[in-house]
């Protein structure tokens, strides 16, 4: 390799290492270690192994309690690494293959390097780590509330059909549930008011970024005057650190292409070596793999559950449809009953139905603000032409990285309406059911609460 090329590669790898270290990945090796790993030298194994493991720890979380990240158990670490790699789609023989290594020494350095490259290239891992850092260091950023996605384990709760969870039948459990639910409602109220206050303060800090802001004297300053500008100092430090990270990221972006070319050459050298060793010659190891995880069946169960639910739903729907069509056939007028509806009535009904079904689909997608955002006070532009707000789809605006508060508000309001409708419908359903239950009870009359 020509001299300048190798120097450039070293530069590129150094910039990658710098970026990873400011993103708080531990155990970053030197650029030299990468080069040694390319040639499958044994002395770089420990470095590459720790790098890969710490990167994966930032990207994945273990669902079972098999291994604590602080443990020095290298075999368990290997299991974690293999699980995580497999999970993000890496199908190399040492990860997935028929005879996986159970000891860390058996994995070659070059394999580790290739796995590292795979993880880096899959999805937007670096972007995710960057956004974590942004939300951590920038006081004014608005972070996403729930780690995006459903409440973990939610489908499992619903899937416990009647009779499986016998303890629910007892009253104390119901009371406990009522209590907890009330607590939850209270928490949400506190959270909403805290959020309001925070928005107020965030806006004030943001508006003092612009130099035209006049700093008004504060009333309650007496005991703060002796406070050195440590708060502003700390904030300044944080922002400076963040700017450092952003600069490292942009620097990496410039050099990225070269890195991937170099990784290509690593694949080349690995293929060259592999061709001399026939994988079929590997002696079959003893099938007793020392480390296994007993909890690995989750997804299989989830698949089965989903299958059952869907099948049940489908059969019920079909049955209902058949029932309905026989009903309409046998009742007077039959099919003509539907056709007696006027066109406008039909349109109205159809609109209502499609609106509702669309809402169902809508709520399953993530909101436009689900990744959080960085608020920025816009200078009032009186000459802004109104059509600019409506050009393009909202999705495009977001992918360009810019979001208008008014668009986001509109979408959120639409979502709120849909969700409220859904909730109301579910509750109404319950009301009817309960009333029916109450009517079967002798001598009891259920008086529903007054609608406020």
């Amino acid at each position: 390799m020509p001299r300048e090329n190798s120097v450039k590669v070293k530069e590129v790898i150094t910039s990658l290492c710098k970026l990873l270290s400011v993103l708080s990945v531990e155990s970053i090796p030197t650029a030299e270690a990468f080069r040694r790993a390319k040639f499958n030298r044994k002395d770089a194994t420990v470095d590459m192994r720790s790098l890969l493991s710490s990167l994966l720890q930032k990207a994945f979380a273990l669902d079972c309690a098999c291994w604590d990240f602080g443990d020095q158990d290298y075999d368990m670490q290997l299991l974690f690494v293999r699980s995580a790699l497999c999970y993000c789609g890496y199908g190399a023989p040492w990860v997935v293959g028929p005879w996986p290594p159970s000891h860390t020494e058996e994995v070659g350095t070059r394999d580790l390097l290739l796995a590292f490259g795979w993880v880096l290239s899959s999805g937007n891992l670096l972007d995710f780590m960057l956004s974590e850092k942004v939300h951590q260091l920038d006081t004014l950023s608005s972070a996403p509330l729930i780690p995006q996605g459903l409440i973990p384990g939610q489908p499992e709760v619903a899937a416990h059909g009647p009779g499986e969870d016998a303890s629910v039948k007892k009253d104390p459990v119901l009371q406990a549930l009522q209590w907890q639910y009330g607590k939850l409602r209270l928490q949400w109220k506190c959270l909403l008011s805290a959020q309001e206050e925070r928005s107020k303060f965030t806006h004030r800090v943001i508006s003092s970024i612009s130099p035209s802001a006049v700093c008004q004297p504060h009333l309650t300053g007496s005991h703060y005057s002796n406070m050195t500008s440590t708060a502003l100092d700390k904030e300044l430090e944080r922002i400076q650190a963040l700017n450092g990270i952003l600069e490292a990221y942009l620097d990496w972006n410039l050099h990225e292409a070269l890195f991937w070319c170099w990784m290509d050459s690593v694949i080349d050298s690995s293929l060259a070596d592999a061709s001399s060793v026939d994988p079929a010659d590997w002696p079959p190891r003893e099938q007793a793999v020392t480390v296994r995880c007993p909890h690995g069946d989750e997804t299989r169960r989830a698949v089965k559950r989903l299958d059952e639910m869907l099948l049940r739903l489908q059969t019920e729907l079909r049955a209902r449809r058949i029932e309905q069509s026989t009903l309409t056939l046998t009742s007077e007028g039959g099919r003509q009953g539907a056709s007696r509806l006027s066109e406008s009535q039909r349109m109205e009904v159809e609109k209502k139905v499609s609106g509702y079904l669309e809402g169902l689909r809508f709520t399953n997608t993530s909101a436009v603000t689900s990744r959080g955002f960085l608020p920025c006070l816009q200078n009032p532009q009186p000459t802004k032409p109104p059509h600019r707000l409506h050009t393009g789809e909202p999705g495009l605006e977001v992918t360009a990285g810019k979001l208008q508060a008014s668009t986001a508000l509109d979408e959120l309001r639409a979502r709120e309406a849909v969700l409220r409708g859904q909730l109301e419908r579910l509750r109404q359903n319950m009301r009817v059911e309960m009333r029916r239950q109450a009517s079967t009870m002798e001598q009891m009359v259920l008086i529903p609460p007054i609608k406020r």
Partner: protein, 448 residues
């Protein structure tokens, strides 16, 4: 995970979020407070009143005023300077030379010098020569105006403050970083300033009742630096956002080549994506099931619209539901196939792992966008709306979960009595009113 545990988790999450918000509020408050520093001026320090000639006193007052003005102009103009360095510089220069003229007129003997320290020291020297006062006191006196921002300073802050004041000189380069100190020419100045600070503090308190002490609010010296860093951050972030949409062909090439080296044919979708999609599909299935059940109920008991409208509505609704179910089933089948082909190839015994966040989504990006808002009220509304949507989402999920698990109270015991009155009341409030209100159950017995 049982229902109670799910609610517990939700409460914990709320609490964590609330503490995060409170912490954030505290930070913002501190930042806002520390943007201004209170300054106590004393025109005269302890015991030096007699030593100051009246005309020098006057000079000092005028000098203080002028320096204050200069600082104000400087701090506003240098941020302008940032933005339009070429245009505004001359203006600022003109401004400052104007101020300089005034100062020169006042103080007469002071030549224009690099650091204001020198100038002040010369004045100090001048004062020394005439009055023979001890070293520290004139420092206190003369440095009165320059010491404004130093009152709460560590030496580095005071240095920067001096550097800030000295940058009122047009020839000075603006110092952006608070820690960059333009070294004052005197060696003993750091010790002087550090000595001066506690002494000043005490003096400030001692002379609080004496002669003339005014409290003023001026901007913290760090403020322009912070503003500069913030604008820089905004610029860098926008750059990052534009970069993210650019594809990197070398990377895709590498991924493809690496995938080709895998020994067996594996589906392109990775297990992480499969699991995520399964979760989404499960949720959709749940939604559809609940919608279906609600529809069955509504059909029997709804009182809106005519009979025929209702029939038609339920007909269309069921049709729609069936269609959506079919879609979900196709997706689920595909995912199942993918999962099975992965499952076959994995030698088993792997731990279940979970992505720490949704960073795998190939289509969407996970970088937070820049949200432009126009007023504080809009921001407030947006953020509370966002929270409300989250809350509603959670409420819907919990409602579905509760309906499913508490349904055992009446459905699985057809022969039994059914739930007792108390239980029914509790169930009604939880499931039908969200726990807000309770129904009344009245014993209705015909008395003979």
């Amino acid at each position: 995970m049982s229902l109670l545990q799910a609610v517990d988790e939700a409460i914990k999450m709320c609490k964590a979020e609330e503490s995060r918000l409170t912490e954030n509020i505290r930070q913002c408050k501190e930042i806002l407070h520390s943007m201004r520093t209170r300054v106590t001026e004393t025109a005269a320090a302890v015991g030096t009143k007699d030593d100051i000639q009246p005309e020098e006193k006057q000079e000092i007052e005028l000098l203080e005023q002028v320096l204050k003005k200069a600082l104000k102009i400087r701090s506003t103009s240098e941020v302008h300077k940032e933005r339009q360095p070429n245009e505004r510089k001359n203006k600022a220069l003109v401004n400052h030379t104007g101020k300089e003229e005034d100062k020169r007129k006042l103080v007469k003997s002071v030549p224009l010098s690099e650091t204001s320290k020198k100038a002040i020291d010369r004045r100090r020297a001048g004062g020394n020569v005439t009055h023979g006062v001890p070293w520290t006191r004139p420092v206190l006196v003369r440095k009165g105006p320059t010491a404004h921002p130093v009152v709460n300073g560590r030496p580095s802050v005071s240095k920067s403050a001096q550097a800030r004041i000295s940058s009122t000189r047009p020839q000075q380069k603006m110092c952006v970083k608070a820690t960059d100190a333009e070294e004052p020419s005197e060696d003993n100045s750091p010790s002087v300033s550090s000595q001066e600070v506690p002494a000043y503090g005490e003096d400030g308190e001692v002379t609080a009742g004496s002669v003339r002490s005014e409290e003023q609010w001026i901007q913290s010296p760090l403020l322009p630096a912070w503003r500069a860093q913030r604008t820089k951050q905004k610029r860098l972030w926008r750059k990052v956002l534009t970069q993210q949409s650019k594809p990197v062909p070398e990377r895709t090439k590498f991924t493809e080549r690496l995938r080709d080296t895998f020994p067996s044919e594996l589906p392109t979708v990775c297990p992480a994506d499969i699991t995520r999609e399964l979760d989404v599909l499960t949720q959709r299935c749940l939604d559809l099931t609940h919608c279906f059940n609600a529809e069955l109920q509504a059909q029997k008991h709804s009182d809106s619209g005519t009979l025929r409208e209702r029939e038609y509505e339920s007909f269309r609704m069921l049709e729609g539901l069936e269609r959506m179910t079919a879609e979900v089933i196709t997706c689920a089948d595909q995912r199942k196939k993918d999962w099975e082909s992965w499952d076959m190839r994995i030698s088993g015994g792997l731990c279940p792992v979970r992505r720490r966040s949704e960073w795998g989504a190939p289509a969407g990006s996970c970088l937070p966008p820049v949200l432009s808002y126009s007023s504080g009220a809009e921001l407030r509304e947006l953020e509370s709306q966002r929270l409300r949507v989250e809350q509603l989402q959670q409420a819907v999920h919990l409602q579905q979960a509760m309906t499913d698990s508490l349904a055992s109270y009446w459905s699985s015991r057809p022969g039994a009595d059914g739930p007792s009155a108390v239980v029914l009341r509790g169930l009604y409030s939880l499931l039908a009113e969200g726990g807000l209100q309770f129904p009344s159950l009245v014993l209705d017995s015909e008395s003979d």
